[in-house]
Amino acid sequence: MKPFTRLDGLVAPLDRANVDTDAIIPKQFLKSIKRSGFGPYAFDEWRYLDHGEPGMDCSARPLNPDFVLNQARYQGASVLLARENFGCGSSREHAPWALEDYGFRAIIAPSFADIFFNNCFKNGVLPIVLKAEIVDKLFRETADAEGYRLTVDLAAQTVTTPSGEAFAFDVDPERKHRLLNGLDDISLTLKFTDQIQAYEARRKGEAPWLFA
């Protein structure tokens, strides 16, 4: 996994609540057996005017001029500003894969859906929860200033605006440690092999049918 330390990035606003993972990456793209290449299909139904299918060359497809991420000023954005309950619905990890492949490394919203939030951390994408009033303010500032950027510092747990205003955010120490260092969860967990085996031995005594 790519580590996440500090990001200074262009901000793109997606001003709607309850953006679901079906919208982030529609089902037809879930047929891929690969982990990469989903970026061109992120938000496919909102982003293009035609119907997308896996393997299509997206450079030739008609863009929806009304979709905010298609505006010239937001090209190259790496911070996504969103509303409450972002990433609700399906557990598909293709959603963070698509956002990461598109170029987003941080997502700021007042709240996230649980499974999506968790999936982001496994893919070097930092989901940041800020109060609704602060998110509102960031939406206003993004709209008002073309080229608006935010600096995200994971070690310091702050989001800083161009005027120097800094907002603190919470992150679990364990998740922070893994993201800062780009650590592979499985290798870490396998260090607990003895504990896992001891648990199994004890549990087998209590509830043998679980291991039948």
């Binding site: 679901d20 409450e84 557990s91 607990f192 043998p208 679980l210």
Partner: protein
């Protein structure tokens, strides 16, 4: 020890290790595997030369991409076919039990787990699918995970988890005739919203929940994720124990009795404290119909499409306006005046034998009345949740009732719940669906989904528009 909730008991019995910040390494008893969220996990296992930690904890089946008609011809879409073949190959390579496409036991993972007795009370159960919450109906801790965690559980039999808060949803009293577990689920989501359960493990309790069959409890827990909950669950009672008896993967003989004694302890202790409690009066719940593009956009069937002018805040107002535009609906339209183009009865929410029996009562009534699926309905399809559900329904003659009334009787799979196979809505088509999500494009790009119970979906097929099943109840539900 102080009084514990069901969730506390399930959690405590699975903790392997706790980090200083409270993150726990949780042991996972069962993982269900399907073709969509597993290929990249198996690829990771191979790249690192890893083997599954415990093969007996795994059961695989293809469900999302599977055709529901002409299965003997194979899968026409080459991309879908590759994904299903990849699952077959991975299961063969790693030695994982798989019910393949043509196995009579194949079906939707969340239907076959309980049906086989692979899902058991007291277990932790995961799957790369958000509707894994379904299995909580058995007094288990069950939740959906992403592909990285699918791989993690394959390799380590564990997951890193932060303990969720607890919420009790208490539904007391008796449901009115024609009102089902699906309507409870939608009514709860309508009340607390699709993020109302975020961060919580929800236990459904109360006399109305005790009165539900295991199938009904599965429907309810299935939809817990649509309220944003980490997991949904129902305490074990004699119905749970009776359901388990004789299932292929359930414990046998003396071991069954030993297990049953343990299972009966899987209830919240009297006086156990929940972080949040929601109370509903069962008698006040009416049949529900969603009108928008989120499961929380729901009203009773005798209601009207809401007016954005009366939305509680600006964000909701623009959400409602966008939803009405997408759904092609005007504010204040009575729900029973909305016509449908297609009807889908199936999905991990409502494709079990009881669901099909409820829908078949409507079909049977229609046949007796010399009525059929209405002329404006292009397709009304019934997709059983598994091969065994299908066989059971056919043994009861339900398939004949459906086909006589003009419904199509299909082979099991996820089908038009998410339209990864050939079953889908065309742009602008409106569907009465027993599935779980009415998101934009969920059932096909531009498709318009209304979530309802099986009997309500069947009635919409026969009338061509939504009807209040309670009005028909005396005639139909004999």
């Amino acid at each position: 020890m102080s009084a514990r909730t069901l969730f506390d008991k399930l959690w405590d019995s699975h903790v392997v290790h706790v980090e200083p910040d409270g993150t726990a390494l949780l042991y996972i008893d069962r993982q269900l595997v399907h073709e969509v969220t597993s290929p990249q996990a198996f690829e990771g296992m191979k790249m690192n030369g890893r083997k599954p930690w415990r093969l007996a904890s795994l059961l695989a089946t293809p469900d999302h991409n599977i055709p529901t008609a002409d299965r003997d011809k194979g899968i026409a879409d080459p991309v879908s076919r590759t994904q299903v073949e990849t699952l077959d190959a991975n299961c063969a390579e790693f030695g994982i039990t798989e019910f393949g496409m043509n196995d009579p036991r194949q079906g939707i993972v969340h239907v076959i787990g309980p049906e086989q007795g692979f899902t058991q009370p007291g277990m932790t159960i995961v799957c790369g699918d958000s509707h894994t919450s379904t299995h909580g109906a058995f007094g288990a801790l069950a939740f959906g995970i992403g592909t990285s965690e699918v791989e993690h559980v394959l390799a380590t039999q564990c997951l890193w988890q932060k303990k969720a808060k607890t919420m009790q949803v208490r539904v007391e009293g008796e449901l009115k005739f024609g009102v089902t577990a699906k309507d409870i689920a939608l009514a709860v989501i309508g009340r607390i919203g699709t993020a109302g359960g975020t961060g919580y493990a929800v236990e459904f309790a109360g006399s109305a929940i005790r009165a539900l069959s295991m199938e009904g409890r599965m429907t309810l827990c299935n939809m817990a994720i649509e309220a944003g909950a980490r997991a949904g669950m129902v305490a074990v009672d004699e119905k749970t124990v009776a359901y388990m008896r004789g299932r292929p993967y359930a414990p046998k003989g003396e071991q069954f009795e030993q297990a049953a004694t343990y299972w009966r302890s899987l209830v919240s202790d009297a006086g156990a404290a929940f972080d949040a409690v929601l109370e509903l009066d069962a008698a006040g719940i009416k049949p529900q119909v969603t009108w928008g593009t989120s499961p929380e956009m729901v009203v009773p069937v005798d209601g009207r499409v809401p007016d954005p002018a009366h939305a509680p805040n600006a964000v909701k107002k623009s959400d409602w306006e966008r939803a009405l535009a997408y759904m092609g609906l005007s504010a204040n339209t009575p729900i029973d005046q909305i016509n449908v183009d297609k009807v889908f009865i199936g999905s991990c929410t409502n494709s079990r034998i009881e669901d099909l029996r409820e829908a078949a009562k409507v079909a049977s009534w229609a046949v007796a009345q010399n009525r059929k699926v209405a002329g404006n309905v292009k397709l009304a399809m019934v997709v059983p949740g598994s091969g065994l559900v299908k066989a059971q329904a056919e043994a009861e003659g339900l398939d004949k009732l459906f086909t006589a009334a003009g419904f199509e009787w299909r082979d099991p799979g996820c089908s038009m719940c998410l339209a990864m196979n050939a079953d889908r809505l065309e742009p602008g088509e409106r569907c009465a669906s027993t599935s779980n999500r009415n998101f934009e494009g969920r059932q096909g790009q531009g498709g318009r989904t209304h979530l309802v119970s099986p009997a309500m979906a069947a009635a919409a097929a026969v009338f061509g528009h939504f009807v209040d099943i309670r009005v028909l109840a005396n005639e139909v539900m004999q």
